[in-house]
């Protein structure tokens, strides 16, 4: 039997806000968020958003699974998946003029909360919104670290294709200053 999407979302937000504030969150604050952003159900196979569309919201997965894919000359390529507690499309909140970089679809029946800039603006004093923002901070930081890790892997592949560092490429005087200079 499928769980009630509103109860699932309430449970999700309650956990998020309690972790953030280290105390129980007021029921009225939870209700306010759920009224402004009712949980959205996606059936397995349904598209959540498409690559190239303008980004206007972030998606917080309450339960289920979403998969992101990009169009390549060789066809669709899966680039990531998101499950419960994950966030997708978060750049839409602070860079809304950017197009979606991937198409996201549900791979099984899923429930999500749509976080819009308007919701954040109207919920300035709501600790549940604060908790969502705090969750977003850590989500984006983790995503950047993962991407940078992929860059380091690409570097290693480049090194193996190009060979060792060219001779004569030595640390600069700025680097010497860094190793010998004073700290602020």
């Amino acid at each position: 039997m499928r769980s009630d999407p509103v109860e699932s979302a309430r449970f999700y937000l309650h956990g998020l806000a309690s972790l953030f504030g280290r105390r129980l969150v007021a029921e009225a604050d939870l209700v306010w968020v759920l009224r402004r952003s009712p949980p959205v159900d996606y059936a397995a196979g349904q598209v959540v958003f498409r690559q190239g569309e303008l980004a206007e919201s972030a998606i917080l997965v309450v339960h289920g699974e979403l998969v992101a894919s990009v169009s390549t000359p060789d066809g669709e390529r899966v680039v990531g998946a998101a499950g419960a507690w994950d966030v997708v499309g978060e750049t839409g909140l602070y860079a809304p003029d950017q197009p979606r970089s991937a198409t996201v679809r549900a791979t099984r029946d899923s429930t999500a909360l749509l976080i819009t800039h308007q919701l954040l603006a109207e919920g300035r004093s709501n600790p549940v919104i604060g908790a969502i923002e705090y969750h977003l901070l850590h989500t984006i930081t983790r995503r950047i670290r993962n991407t940078n890790q992929a860059l380091e892997t690409a570097w290693s592949e480049l090194e193996s294709r190009l060979g060792a560092r060219p001779p004569g490429e030595e640390p600069t005087s700025l680097v010497r200053a860094l190793t010998e200079g004073t700290s602020a």
Partner: protein, 203 residues
């Protein structure tokens, strides 16, 4: 309360969609320690555990990043107003680049305990801090990813002649991604910016 108002306005102008009141940014800056630092001074070093978030209020800094082979590469300059060192203070990781002042700079350094308390604060100061950080992180994720995509397209079939340039570009993309540099910054450096050593290859 008017102290720092001009800096708060500039910080907000540089971070779109933050939707915070300038007076809250002023309070954030007042919760930090103000430092005027001379040129050629290390602000933070790669590998150190982060214990401060920096609001660069005036001046210019240079960023150096160590590549996976251990070579330190200058990857760019950053001009005020901006945040520096935000990622490592969020997840309490080690610095992934070193920062050296390229001019006399004015920074407001927010210590970890203050940051930790403020970023979880439900009030307006916490909101302003979280949204400044979200705006900054989003911008670096968008800019860094775009640079990486361009690199992947250009570097799909690298040849030995272009290898060095590609390595530099990869480190610059990494610096963008981590928020050390910013493609969107176009401000001219201040009059007191020191000429950097001639053998530097800055972005």
């Amino acid at each position: 309360m008017s102290h720092f108002r001009a800096e708060a306005d500039l910080l907000l102008a540089a971070h779109p969609y933050v939707d915070a009141d300038p007076s809250d940014i002023v309070e954030l800056l007042q919760a930090a320690t103000l430092r005027e630092i001379p040129p050629a001074t290390v602000l933070c070093r790669q590998g150190e555990v982060a214990d401060e978030l920096y609001f660069l209020l005036r001046g210019t800094v240079a960023v150096v990043k160590r590549d996976p082979e251990g070579l330190d590469r200058p990857i760019g300059e950053v001009h005020a107003p901006t945040l520096i060192g935000q990622m490592a203070i969020i997840d309490r990781a080690r610095r992934t680049a070193s920062v050296l002042t390229a001019s006399t700079v004015l920074v407001a350094a927010m210590a970890w305990p203050t940051f930790h308390a403020l970023v979880r604060e439900p009030g307006s100061r916490g909101l302003a801090l979280r949204r400044l950080l979200l705006s900054s992180l989003t911008r670096q994720l968008v800019a860094g990813t775009a640079r990486l995509r361009a690199l992947l397209a250009a570097g799909a079939h690298p040849d030995p002649q272009s290898g060095l340039e590609l390595r530099d570009e990869m480190m610059r993309a990494s610096g963008l991604l981590e928020g050390w540099t910013d493609d969107l910054q176009r401000a001219e450096p201040g009059a007191d910016t020191q000429p950097l050593p001639r053998d530097l290859r800055l972005a």
